[in-house]
Amino acid sequence: MPPPGPPLPVTDALTEPFWAGAREGKLVIQRCRGCGLYIHLPRPACRRCQSFDLGHEAVSGRGTVYSFTEIHRAFHPVFVDRLPYLVAVIELDEQPGLRLVSNLVRIAEPDVRFGMPVQVEFEQLIPELTIPVFTRVAP
């Protein structure tokens, strides 16, 4: 039996730009063409102006840590060897409350601070899947 792979996104027109962007080293977020609201997770309509005219844009990749947790128990075979690892909620600089789930890398849990500035980088898990992860911005 081959070793298990990472869980793969099952994409559609709304979500593919995020993953295609990650493969190209860009953080791409859905945005309303009507009112300019960034939307994550992707949705078919804008919750602020109810427009269906939505696109995707590359963002700066800068943000801050809203919350984080150090994972000590895996719930999927691929992550067993990674324990412990950091799952974090990152608030992107583009818009208050614009948050995404990611991993914090190259930092130990005791060194993470709430509100800490972070910057995106990209980690290729397998050729088909690159994920945006975040690292501390050098002070």
Binding site: T11, F18, F68, E70, I71, R73, H76, V89, I131
Partner: protein, 378 residues
């Protein structure tokens, strides 16, 4: 609640336990019959059924409840409060005379099975999960770790306060024959338990098991002639503020319970000061902390010191989770809190009875969604 006044007249459990070997249907039949026996009713009296877990019509059919005039299977929702509120509304509006609400909860695969690949988390829809799973974010323990960490950051609470909460819950469980975990617990033992998603520890999580719970609602008028002292539904509320991705909540500290509690108190002349005991969801212990604050039993951010000062103990300002909570009675997904609130108002709780209890609140869930019900002694 508008319409006819509604009462809880029967409560019951199945043979709750770890890997019980019984089916959902079996748990539903056992719990339903236990609740009917408690009430002094028979299957012939029931004309409405609701459930989360399994199929209410199938459960009714299994017990020979026919015909059924009101039925509902709820999907993902704030635990038992949803089938309970809808059963109560069916009675209030005259859609049902006697309505049974179930929560049937089967034990989920363990972390060991999942990490070994011998079991997989159910994922019916990857449209949102694709933004979580590739980052190793699979389990409710992980959003709970995020909520708990942010809560610790913003509040006066410490990990030692969570230890005190676990100890207080276990003290109640020691006095509850139905609890699955009844060995006394020390704060040191809590702090020595492994982290799952730091700062969330093993003993912050409810205890996995198979469970069936049933509660019977009918009119106040009908309740007068039944076996148990009637317990009345004074008010209830269901609230939601966000989609089901807890990780992207706009505020992880002030979540749906805040709005839900405001709605609940707006529907009654009673106030937090009138409540004699509180039964507040503890699927993860931080949820109870949020509810204590949301319902006004302590100041915002002060649940930790409130608990550490004994506020939730039997002699405290607000006896809370007096059955021991789901961390100790097992994962009954909020139904245990409805049943415990009912038994407290009946005065049937023995060593853990809150003296003179006349008003109780029970509340379920956190984050995107929440529900609460205020009960009074008739």
């Amino acid at each position: 609640m508008n319409g006819r006044r509604v009462a809880i007249v029967g409560v019951g459990y199945s043979q709750v336990g770890r890997h019980s070997g019984l089916s959902e249907r079996h748990h539903a039949a056992q719990a339903g019959l236990a609740a009917l026996d408690d009430a002094g009713l028979t299957v012939a009296d029931v004309d409405g059924v609701t459930t989360w877990g399994g199929d209410a019509i199938d459960f009714a059919d299994t017990l020979g409840i026919s015909p059924v005039n009101w039925h509902l299977n709820v999907g993902v929702s704030p635990a038992f409060i949803t089938p309970a509120v809808h059963a109560a509304m069916a009675v209030a509006t005259g859609h049902s005379e006697v309505c049974m609400a179930w929560r049937i909860m089967m034990q989920q695969p363990s972390g060991a099975e999942l990490s070994a690949g011998s079991a997989a988390l159910r994922s019916p829809d990857m449209s949102d999960a694709q933004f979580l799973y590739p980052f190793g974010d699979f389990s409710p323990t992980q959003w709970a770790g995020l909520l708990m960490n942010r809560y610790l950051h913003e509040s006066d609470c410490t990990e030692e306060h969570f230890a005190e909460f676990a100890v207080a819950q276990r003290e109640y469980a020691v006095r509850n024959d139905n609890a699955l975990q009844r060995e006394p617990l020390t704060a040191e033992a809590y702090l020595a338990a492994p982290y799952i998603s730091k700062p969330l520890r093993l003993l912050d999580c409810d205890y996995p098991c198979d469970s069936g719970s049933a509660v019977i609602f009918t009119t106040e008028e009908r309740a007068r002639d039944l076996r148990q002292p009637a317990v009345l539904v004074e008010a209830s509320a269901l609230a939601a503020i966000h989609n089901m991705t807890f990780e992207t909540l706009p505020d992880m500290v002030r979540t749906a319970p805040v709005h839900c509690a405001e709605v609940l108190w707006s529907r009654t002349d009673l106030t937090p000061a009138d409540v004699d005991c509180a039964q507040l969801y503890d699927g993860f212990s931080v949820i109870t902390f949020q509810w204590l604050e949301a319902l006004g039993f302590c100041d915002p951010g002060a649940a930790g010191p409130f608990i550490a000062a004994g506020g939730t103990r039997l002699t405290g300002a607000m006896p809370t989770n007096t059955d021991g909570g789901a961390c100790n009675v097992g994962r009954r997904h909020g139904a245990n809190f409805c049943i415990e609130a009912t038994r407290q108002l009946r005065g049937q709780c023995g060593d853990r009875q809150v003296g003179g209890a006349e008003v109780a609140v029970w509340a379920n869930a956190v984050g995107p969604f929440a529900g609460a019900m205020l009960l009074t002694k008739a």
